[in-house]
Symmetry: C2
Subunit: 241 residues, 2 copies
Amino acid sequence: MQSKWLELQGLLNLQFNDVNLLKQAFTHASYRNEHRKLHVEDNERLEFLGDAVLELVVSDFLYRTYPKMPEGELTRMRAAIVCEASLVRFAKRLSFDQYIRLGRGEERSGGRSRPALLADVFEAFLGALYLDQGLEAVRQFVHTHMVPYLPDVSAGLDYKTALQELVQQRHQTPVRYVIVEERGPAHAREFVVQVELGGEVRGVGIGRSKKEAEQQAAAMALASLSEERSEERVTGVSQTD
Amino acid sequence: MQSKWLELQGLLNLQFNDVNLLKQAFTHASYRNEHRKLHVEDNERLEFLGDAVLELVVSDFLYRTYPKMPEGELTRMRAAIVCEASLVRFAKRLSFDQYIRLGRGEERSGGRSRPALLADVFEAFLGALYLDQGLEAVRQFVHTHMVPYLPDVSAGLDYKTALQELVQQRHQTPVRYVIVEERGPAHAREFVVQVELGGEVRGVGIGRSKKEAEQQAAAMALASLSEERSEERVTGVSQTD
């Protein structure tokens, strides 16, 4: 039953030359282990490749978009875009979770919504697209499906205040910033902060100060909230292959 | 005086459309700081980009060369190829150290042979080549100047024994393996080992066991020794711009 893969390609406005690459990107190791006779391959090697493809496309985008931005700042922005929390957001936005082929045990234990698993599928998909259609196709995909939803951290806006106001208007849940990690030597300290709305993580930021990391996390949360508002999600996708 | 850059391009069999990109790749921040009036840019942003370009080209190469290799093994091989010690080796092999534009203080303190600085220049050069001529040009460069010198870690040979024998024949200096790092949780332990010949680091390896890491380090040292033998280096390059 192939209509699932046709549907996904339609959703993404893409046509794979080798649809097996697409399937492989969405195949978790637990599915392969349960279907040894089918000789399907899982997505781990594609994720290895896709991780590098994404890193380059995002680096190239940032390099050209911010011609005056110092290297340290570019590195922090890249880290915020390609981190797990960010990739999960893109994967969910594209309903990737609905197409993953999981083993039964993994399905029962909630694997379909496990962040690391979703982020891996997203990277594996980019690896498959790169193999099937080359770097330009991935660049096109990133510019269509990721770039418009990136927080514009360079604008110097006060995202924390903007987020606070939006949440008060619409959600009336508390906004909480949590320092997840403090790392690096004293002269090059880095803070990783996540922002939670009503207990749910909605953004992650990395910065040289708590404030900078909070601003970035708030920007990501704002982007995710504005998406939510405009979202018209295709639903009722078949879970079988 | 531009002959230095013509010479470098001749050495690399390359012609840059924008030779300023090439110069920028070889410009350390200390040089820019001392020549503020010239408005030269340093190589830090190019290094950010080049790091990602190299990561993709090496990942792609490994993915296609070893179609059956599991993701974990690919990741370890990639790490061994793009690590600082490895990049320094490639940079020196191509005499990149002779073309770096350094500030006087940095020059006096031996910056020209500082490993991190050399590795950065190598990555920045790849970033410049990518901007000037695209991904395929970088792939071509990597396949010409890096791939032939990579240790074939998949062959299952005993590199430690081979290294021991070669060193006994030619150098008669002691071979020493040093565990630089032990990392990861107990079930996914990783060892980083370097091999020293006569006190000089000649190879680095990463593996799931000490033995595996030592084999990889020995393979890298062997590759570096066999290069040394066949080396005909262009010398006497001008240090001025």
